[in-house]
């Protein structure tokens, strides 16, 4: 099945592993999203809201652009 991509790419997976191999469920719990949404973000199938993106970056202790990049 063709995946509808987004212009927003991310390094979520790398940051999860750099932070004690944090699981998708743990990240989801910390930022108030479902695990399915974290999976969709990692696979580039969903671009999170600005608020969710900031919450994710805050969990990793980095700036927004360290996690999310605009590639269009």
């Amino acid at each position: 099945m063709k995946v509808a991509g987004t212009a927003v790419t991310n390094t979520l997976r790398a940051h999860r592993f750099a932070n004690g191999e944090m699981t998708q469920q743990q990240l989801a719990d910390k930022v108030g999203l479902t695990r399915q949404t974290i999976i969709a973000i990692e696979q580039g199938r969903y671009a999170p809201s600005l608020e969710a993106a900031f919450r994710i970056a805050r969990v990793f202790g980095v700036g927004l652009e360290a996690v999310f990049q605009f590639s269009a």
């Binding site: 099945m1 063709k2 995946v3 509808a4 991509g5 987004t6 469920q25 989801a28 719990d29 108030g32 999203l33 479902t34 695990r35 399915q36 949404t37 969709a40 580039g44 199938r45 969903y46 999170p48 809201s49 969710a52």
Partner: protein, 137 residues
Amino acid sequence: MSFRARSAAITTAAIAVIFAVYFAWSLARTRSTADSLVEFVVAIIVLTVVITAFEIVVAIVHRRRRGERLADERDSLISARSARNGYFTLLAGIWMTPILALTGAPGLIIANFTLGMIVLAEIVNFGSRVVYDARGA
């Protein structure tokens, strides 16, 4: 597949199968609008029972996955876009109904056509949720 996508897939399949049987039965055998109404009520009861039973099974299967049954921003977006698709389908049906009436079609056919468009709109609504969940919203 997520809890919500699985739930939507079951609802889509249940609506499609049960109303396919209803329409096949109603259009082939029913002689009056009253008969069709009884068959419609039976279809609704069967649909409610089937969906409730499958929802219980899906909820049991997903009981260990914490928080998955709560909606987040992506679920809300998928829900809104799917409802929009269903709305456009329903709107097309609403516009076609008076045109069908003007052709002199019997009341039973018009009633079933209208019902069919409502059912189609629901299939589009729940089917869209499954597609958006898999492909991205």
